[in-house]
Symmetry: C2
Subunit: 192 residues, 2 copies
Amino acid sequence: MKAQTMMKEENHTRNGVNVDELFNTIDAVKNSPVIARFKFRANNQWIDGGHNRTTIKDFYGIQKDHKHEATFKLDADEPPLLLGTGKGPNPVEYLLTALAACVTTSLVFHAAAKGIVLKSVESRLEGDIDLRGFLGISKDVRKGYQEIRMFFKIDADVPQQQLEELVQLGPTFSPVFDSITRGVPVRVSLDK
Amino acid sequence: MKAQTMMKEENHTRNGVNVDELFNTIDAVKNSPVIARFKFRANNQWIDGGHNRTTIKDFYGIQKDHKHEATFKLDADEPPLLLGTGKGPNPVEYLLTALAACVTTSLVFHAAAKGIVLKSVESRLEGDIDLRGFLGISKDVRKGYQEIRMFFKIDADVPQQQLEELVQLGPTFSPVFDSITRGVPVRVSLDK
């Protein structure tokens, strides 16, 4: 892995990110901002009880549709304690997954752009939910997360005192962090 | 499936949800609100470039820790167009997955509580992101989703004109819908 990473360095790849392509992308978007408008998509099918399946197969960007290399299928379910059958993570755990993945990728990409070599990045997340909201028992209790905490362990070629700055690249640039902390308008309607 | 559903009805199960247990849970929480305080958890490990893996294995609720039946591993990656290697859905697609799954489960559980029998529930979601935010090109462009749209197709034992009301049970009770639309404080720090 180390040898592979060093070889990649010669091809202008840092942290597994092709930095030449990254800077080319930034230049292309500066010249033609319309190519930066992406649409991400998902389809969901209810199976039974708390069990449902989301399919991810295509997205729109650079002014056309693209198929993913593979169609991804993601099963969600509640654990038996929450009246499900445990066939997958539950939806609020998928939200933590989205956040963990996005803050990590944002940190990795922006560290690569800044010339910082990462050796390892790990994180753990915990979020608080009071189920009185979902159950409709109290209107004073919110249905969603009250707070989410994310803790990083990072090994990188920077002085210890710069690690704090490095960690903040994640939340500074992450689309999911921005979506969750600042809120997104979501329209839910019947398909006509 | 139909026969199975009818058999379950006799066991006070509706839409795959044990309605007796659901009402027992609501009564238990009313008597002892502390048991409704849950903590959901995730661990993430960076692999290379845009590829990282989230592990979901336990959660806290009813005043103790619980292990899931299985440990769930979820790979995230960017497609090659976004400088990844396509080994999984990307983080913003995981966010749509969380939303799809949660709005669906919330609709199914609350329909069950109201005595509404569902035959099928499908949804498709689309969200808009302008990558100038993530790339740090424009401070006026937000990094996260600008809007998310969710469209349902539902077959249920209700008059057509009540379908609109039924659909709104999802966003009304969903923890992920509430988290995404209203925002959640997220603290990101180094693990000490």
